[in-house]
């Protein structure tokens, strides 16, 4: 059984840098688990600790029910695909794939059969005599995968295996990797900083930041019910729109957040949790796809009791939709200053830094929309689509 059980895992590198803090996760047999987060969040450290390439001083890792803290990498029965594939440059594709079996001392005939089986599965049959330098990026990636699957290990560990491929090939390999994983049914831990890979490939996602696990769950759960502002903005492209605004009680059982001259009602089911914030600031979040140019009644009937009004700053035509940036009244919120800096377009563009007292939000309009920059738009908002976060802790209010 390829279950991986991580208990209280922590890592401090020599020099005092803490890379990982109290990680607890149970990865079921056959599960496709994704560790996702920005650079330096501890995801690769966690993966390397599972592989045995980093020592474990805090916590415990069990693979298949056996604690492996002091077990050498070669005896953990896991296979790893590295970011740069780490194919042995002096060996042919055949020898690269056969290497783990040679280490196990398998007979030549068995090695041949298993290498050919792996090559067939990955479409490498014609390339077995080539050296890695004669392969394309995608082919190298397949060979690395072949070297991993040929052993039939308890778990696959993949460290950003698609990050060196171009966008088109990455999409193709995403599908291939998912198919191979499903076919073999081997427990897989996959590290990436790309939230699209996380959303599309994993059966479960663990979002990490600064060495701490932020949230884990199915892609749908993490997307629809982010546990904090970081997860809300990290998952999704673009991430969730966040605005800081006052929450006011307009009457008994009527809480509203004030965005400029608009008073958007809070969903009834959250009133209990939101009551203690009445009269103070809250952070309101809404996914870009919930802000569209479709008529309000077409989406949520008359329940659209709120609207976001603002000035269009940028319109990006993406073919299947128009991504519209709108400047609305309110205070922008930085869920993660580092992340905000990466996402923020260069200064000088209108959308770079909103004017004081305003914040930029993204909306997804239909491709036929005729909206143009500097136009004022009035976007209906369904209260049920709103997420609320505590401005102090960043945690979701539920």
């Amino acid at each position: 059984m390829g279950t991986i059980d991580i208990r209280g895992l922590g890592k401090v590198y020599p020099g005092g840098t803490r890379a990982l803090r109290d990680l607890n996760l149970e990865i079921a047999d056959g599960e496709f688990m994704i560790f996702v987060g920005p650079s330096g969040c501890g995801k690769t450290t966690a993966l390397r600790m599972i592989a045995g390439l980093e020592t474990i001083e805090e916590g415990e890792i069990s693979i298949g029910g056996t604690v492996v803290n002091r077990v050498e990498p070669r005896k953990r029965d896991v296979a790893m695909v590295f970011q740069n594939y780490a194919l042995y440059p002096h060996m042919t594709v055949y020898d690269n794939i056969a290497f783990p079996l040679q280490c196990e001392g398998k007979r030549k005939q068995e090695i041949k059969e298993r290498v050919e089986e792996a090559a067939r599965l990955l479409g490498l049959g014609e390339l077995l005599k080539r050296k890695p330098r004669a392969l394309s990026g995608g082919q190298r990636q397949r060979v690395a995968m072949g070297r991993a699957i040929v052993r039939k290990p308890q778990a696959f560990l993949l460290d950003e295996p698609l990050s060196n491929l171009d966008a088109k090939l990455r999409m193709q390999m995403r599908a291939e990797l998912s198919t191979v994983q499903r076919t073999l049914g081997v427990t897989t831990v996959y590290v990436t900083h790309d939230q699209v890979e996380a959303m599309t490939m994993g059966t479960r996602i663990a979002v990490m930041r600064n060495g701490l696990l932020q949230q884990e769950g199915t892609p749908e759960l993490v997307y629809d019910r982010p546990s904090n502002m970081f997860v809300a903005t990290f998952i999704g492209s673009p991430g969730m729109n966040l605005l800081s605004c006052p929450l006011v009680a307009d009457g008994p059982d009527d809480l509203r957040c004030v965005v400029g001259d608009q008073r958007i009602p809070a969903p009834k089911e959250l009133h209990g949790a939101l009551e203690r914030f009445a009269g103070s600031q809250v952070v309101v979040g809404v996914r870009p796809e919930k802000l569209t140019d479709a008529p309000a009644h077409a989406r949520h009937g008359d329940a659209a009791a709120g609207r976001l009004r603002g000035e269009v700053t940028v319109v990006e035509m993406l073919g299947h939709e128009r991504l519209v940036q709108v400047e609305v009244p309110g205070e922008p919120v930085a869920a993660d200053p580092e992340l905000e800096n990466i996402r923020r377009p260069p200064d000088g563009r209108r959308n770079g830094r909103p004017t004081p007292g305003t914040a930029n939000v993204y909306a997804r309009f239909s491709p036929s929309s005729t909206v143009k920059p500097l136009e004022t738009v009035d976007i209906p908002v369904n209260p049920a689509d709103l997420h609320f976060f505590d401005p102090e802790t960043g945690e979701a209010i539920r």
Binding site: P14, A51, G52, L53, E72, P73, R74, R76, V78, A79, M80, F82, N84, A86, L87, Y88, P89, H90, F99, P100, C103, E104, P132, R133, R147, R151, L157
Partner: protein, 281 residues
């Protein structure tokens, strides 16, 4: 079509390069030219190329008449045994040592590295007398294994220095991949690391081979009184107090440099890559 393929700048550069190449080729020319002259030609027309009637017999004479026991042929074999033995020992010991120094971050390995660098800087002649005494005590004088150990130890700091620099620039991912793939330390080293070190191994082997092949001083001191004469010793025997046959000396020298020249021509690409560092793969 018809355009002059040089700019004025590249033309001047190419002429300078050709002149430099000719300058470097001059000693080789004289070496071969003189080795093909008779005594008389050498005295009367020392600069004239011996195109009309080259004296190939000089090579046969030099081969058979080297001053040591067994002539140059025997000296050639002795030098080959000592050079190959020293290079093999040196590559094995220095690569293993350097691997541990480069991959371990402990103070001990850093201290060891400093020790090797100091050994690299210090002139070997300083330790000549104590080394002689130790080798005499251990019965290693005038033996193949004695001189092989001496050469290996003497060049070790330099080889370790080269290997450490190369290994430190080598990504650790290959070794980590081998570990996860199920390889133990020895298999990882011999099956994965050693092949990755091929460029620097070529460099170390060529440089150390050249040093050992051409060594005169250590062979003279530590092999004296034995029948194990090396090529430089044999060449020296052509030089006589009263009369020196320079054509034979040059023919012998040509024979002596030929193997090293061939090795360099065959492995020059690896040699340069080893010095430049890096792995392509």
């Amino acid at each position: 079509m018809g355009a002059f393929r040089y700019t004025s700048r590249s033309f001047v550069r190419e002429v300078v390069m050709i002149l430099a190449a000719l300058l470097f080729a001059m000693p080789l020319y004289f070496l071969i030219a003189i080795s093909l002259k008779t005594d008389q030609q050498l005295t009367l027309e020392p600069m004239k190329p011996p195109l009309a009637d080259p004296e190939w017999g000089n090579y046969a004479d030099a081969w058979s008449s080297g001053g040591t026991t067994g002539g140059m042929g025997r000296a050639f074999l002795n030098t080959l045994i000592i050079t190959v033995g020293s290079v093999v020992c040196l590559v094995l010991v220095s690569s293993l040592t350097a691997y541990v120094i480069a991959r371990r971050t402990s103070r001990l390995s850093n201290g060891l590295y400093v020790l090797f660098v100091v050994g690299f800087i210090m002139p070997a002649t300083l330790g000549l007398v104590p080394i002689y005494v130790v080798m005499r005590g251990a019965g290693l004088l005038a033996t193949y294994h004695g001189i092989i150990i001496l050469h290996t130890a003497g060049i070790l700091p330099f080889a370790v220095f080269l290997y450490v620099g190369f290994i430190r620039a080598l990504p650790t991912e290959y070794e980590e991949a081998a570990q996860v793939d199920g390889a133990g330390m020895l298999r990882t080293f011999f099956k994965v690391v050693i092949p990755l070190l091929r460029p620097i191994t070529t460099t170390v082997a060529m440089l150390s081979g050249l040093i050992v092949w051409n060594d005169f001083f250590l062979a003279l001191i530590f092999m004296s009184g034995s029948s194990i004469g090396t090529l430089p010793i044999a060449l020296n025997s052509f030089v006589n107090e009263n009369y020196t046959q320079w054509n034979l000396v040059f023919a012998g020298a040509t024979i002596a440099i030929l193997p090293m020249l061939c090795v360099f021509v065959v492995a020059q690409r690896q040699f340069v890559r080893g010095l430049a560092g890096g792995i392509r793969g």
